[in-house]
């Protein structure tokens, strides 16, 4: 290597762009935190990963790959390690059969008479199709998630609109109030609803004290409680994207509509609502997707007949101890969630293309 090349390589190594420096710093912090917090093996794994990333960067830069690609490489690597690899593992388990062993599923390749033979099958997926339980659990999950999303939209839209139209100091305070519940654990907030909804809880106590009812209402362990829990928990995810969209709405458009003789209601439905569609879509996705796989809320607030796919998954994994069928259930659910996202995304892209 010539002296000039050495110089360039040396200069390159120390003249890292800021985003890369920040990323490296975060990676090293992550490794240090992992080393302190994680058990031995996991810490070594994490340390190894971070080291591999840093080495890959060094090699990449030496090979003259542009920084832009290197920056993109980090999220890609993240997705690969924490999404794609687990997904492939899940897919692989779903092709096996359950057995009493460790790990509790059959190997994918078996030593046959003439070498290794592929022993996987789609039997578990067939099993899901044969038993109507799974279809009704998927449908019921989608129904509960869709209804909750609609309710969250109906409640969240006026709230977001009101916040977006509020004058400044008040607007920030209102936004803060929307985010405030996140400072308490999600689990604790769902537990708090148990205290509110129970037979001798706050709500029944108040209603009986005012004389509106004379027998306590059974609200806990009903579908009502599940809807309430989901809408309550995910409402901020609806409000925030809607707010971000509505706050950018150009007031001049509303004035123009008014000048042209449109009533406020007509203006809302022909100007505000169509323009806020990207916010509605983003908010709906953020509510719908976590709601469909929700396990904790129906487990704590729901009744015995609240059938959701999260619970079915739990049963397959822990009660039937059938990891392969559980994996198949999870993969089918992933596709059920991914398809609507892709559809919504394409709608959104068309919207943006049209503007």
């Amino acid at each position: 290597m010539s002296a000039g090349a050495l110089d360039r390589a040396g200069a390159g190594r120390f003249a890292l762009p800021l985003p890369l420096k920040i990323t490296f710093g975060l990676l090293v912090l992550l490794a240090a935190a992992g080393a302190v917090l994680l058990p031995q093996n996991a810490a070594l794994l994490l340390g190894g990963l971070v080291a591999a990333v840093l080495v890959a960067f060094g090699l990449g830069r030496a090979a003259g790959i542009s920084d832009r690609w290197l920056v993109i490489a980090i999220p890609m690597l993240w997705l690969f390690v924490f999404f794609l690899v687990p997904f492939l593992v899940l897919g692989r388990i779903s092709l096996s059969e359950a057995m009493i062993a460790r790990p509790p599923y059959s190997p994918l390749f078996e030593q046959g008479a003439d070498g290794w033979e592929y022993a996987g099958s789609f039997g578990n997926y067939q099993f899901l199709a044969e038993d109507p339980l799974y279809a009704s659990a998927y449908i019921s999950s989608i129904r509960i998630a869709a209804t909750s999303t609609l309710l969250a939209l109906l409640i969240g839209y006026p709230l977001a609109y009101f916040i977006a139209r509020s004058p400044e100091p008040r607007r920030s305070i209102l936004l803060l109030l929307v985010i405030l519940p996140f400072w308490t654990s999600f689990l604790l907030r769902v537990y708090a609803w148990i205290g509110l909804l129970r037979r001798d809880g706050v709500i029944n106590g108040f209603l009986m004290w005012t004389g509106i009812i004379d027998q306590p209402l059974v609200m806990l362990q009903t579908d009502f409680a599940v809807y309430l829990g989901i809408v309550y928990t995910y409402l901020p995810f609806m409000i925030l994207p809607l707010y971000a969209n509505l706050v950018k709405l150009d007031g001049a458009l509303l004035e123009a509509a008014s000048d042209l003789g449109a009533s406020p209601i007509l203006t809302f439905f022909t100007v505000t609502l169509p323009l806020s569609l990207p916010g509605i879509i983003a908010g709906s996705m953020l509510v719908f997707i976590p709601a469909i796989g929700e396990f904790v809320i129906p487990a704590l607030l729901g009744g015995p007949d609240t059938l959701m796919i999260g619970r079915v998954l739990w049963d397959e994994f822990f009660s039937a101890r059938d990891w392969p069928v559980a994996s198949a259930v999870a993969i089918v659910m992933l596709f059920l969630v991914v398809v609507p996202i892709m559809w919504l995304q394409s709608v959104q892209n068309r919207q943006e293309g049209a503007q």
Binding site: A31, A35, P103
Partner: protein, 362 residues
């Protein structure tokens, strides 16, 4: 600069790697299931450093055991779970030469627990109890009359009786393994049967009372019984006693008690076992032997209110506990208790599916 940071992070890694000292023992046990005093005494006597981690469900424990190495030296699964784990090769056989205190164990109980582990080759009993009915004394008297005695599964499995108490809240354990066998017993079938037709009949019985069941959950009933949110729970003996103690502490006039139904009830055993890949096998044996010392286990029973299987320890246990037939059943009741084992995947699947039908009506 990058190199320096890298060096720092690796130094941090090295520092965090725990030294595997000779005198170590890692115990993975149910929450609130052993006394600090017992651990401290063992540490003082042997110089072994004991780390205790806790879990709150057999499922959690089992998922960790089946996934791979856990690093634990002793775990305490319930019998039916342990049977599957042994079949999966998760646990190692005990070296009985290192466990002279095994002679303290009650032969009749050990014979029962051998149903889960042939010859008790891998395990010994830690605590045991029954799955029966916990109830709110006053709420039942109010609805079924002051002279109604809770002594039968009829209270929860007969739709007519269940309907009368449904308004104050009935809860069932959320587990096919715990609920199907008593339903079989109530129907007069063999509670240990795993024939599909029998299981279906049991599931049908449970389905017929489903509308009267407020919820299916395996621990929620402890607090709900204690504060009067529900009035009848099919539950584990020790959990119901915990509810009774909490109700008494709260002083809100809620009186909870427990009954072993006359048709018979399921006995469960929490077993001490050593995982196959335990790092400190010798220390694990020493600790298990220590837990079979009569005075040690008697002290723990006095704290957790569960029966142990250590005969010479019974005179050392508080009279209040040993004289309670709900904790130490009489010979007559003992004869009616059953132990059921499910150790094949097909039956697991059938029972889980039937249970989903019971729970959701689907």
């Amino acid at each position: 600069m990058t190199k320096l940071k890298l060096a720092v992070s690796f130094a941090a890694l090295a520092a965090a790697t725990p030294a595997l000292a000779e005198g170590e023992l890692r115990l993975f046990i149910w929450s609130d299931y052993i006394t600090d005093a017992a651990i401290e005494r063992f540490e003082a006597e042997t110089g072994i450093d004991v780390t205790v981690d806790v879990y709150d469900s057999n499922e959690t424990l089992e998922a960790r055991l089946l996934a791979g190495s856990t690093g634990f030296d002793i775990v305490v699964p319930t019998g039916n779970f342990m049977a599957r784990q042994i079949a999966a090769g998760v646990h190692q056989p005990l070296n009985k030469d290192m466990l002279p205190n095994l002679s303290n164990m009650d032969p009749a109980l050990m014979e029962r627990s051998a149903r889960f582990d042939a010859g008790n080759e891998h395990s010994t009993i830690y605590m045991w109890g029954t799955t029966g009915i916990g109830y709110n004394i006053d709420a039942i008297a109010e609805r079924l009359g002051a002279d109604y005695e809770v002594n039968s599964w009829d209270l929860v499995f007969n739709p007519e009786t269940a309907a009368k108490v449904a308004d104050c809240g009935i809860s069932f354990l959320d587990s096919a393994d715990e609920m199907l066998p008593p339903a079989l017993a109530y129907l007069g079938l063999n509670p240990e049967s795993r024939e599909t037709a029998d299981l279906e009949a049991a599931a049908e019985l449970l389905g017929s009372v489903r509308e009267h069941v407020r919820y299916f959950h395996s621990s929620q009933y402890i607090s709900d019984l204690a504060n009067g949110e529900t009035c009848v729970a099919v539950g584990f003996s020790g959990d119901v006693f915990q509810a009774a103690a909490r109700a008494e502490e709260a002083g809100q006039g809620v009186n909870v008690w427990y009954a072993i139904p006359q048709e018979g009830a399921q006995v469960w055993f929490d077993m001490l076992v050593i995982p196959a890949d335990a790092p400190n096998v010798e220390n694990a044996h020493r600790f298990i032997n220590y837990l079979m010392e009569p005075d040690v286990i008697a002290e723990i029973t006095n704290y957790v209110w569960y029966a142990n299987a250590n005969r010479p320890s019974w005179p050392l246990v508080d009279e209040e506990i040993t004289s309670d037939p709900a904790i130490f059943p009489t010979e007559e009741v003992m004869a009616k208790l059953f132990t059921s084992v499910t150790a094949d995947s097909r039956t697991d699947r059938t029972m889980t599916r039937l249970w989903t039908t019971v729970r959701t009506g689907q």
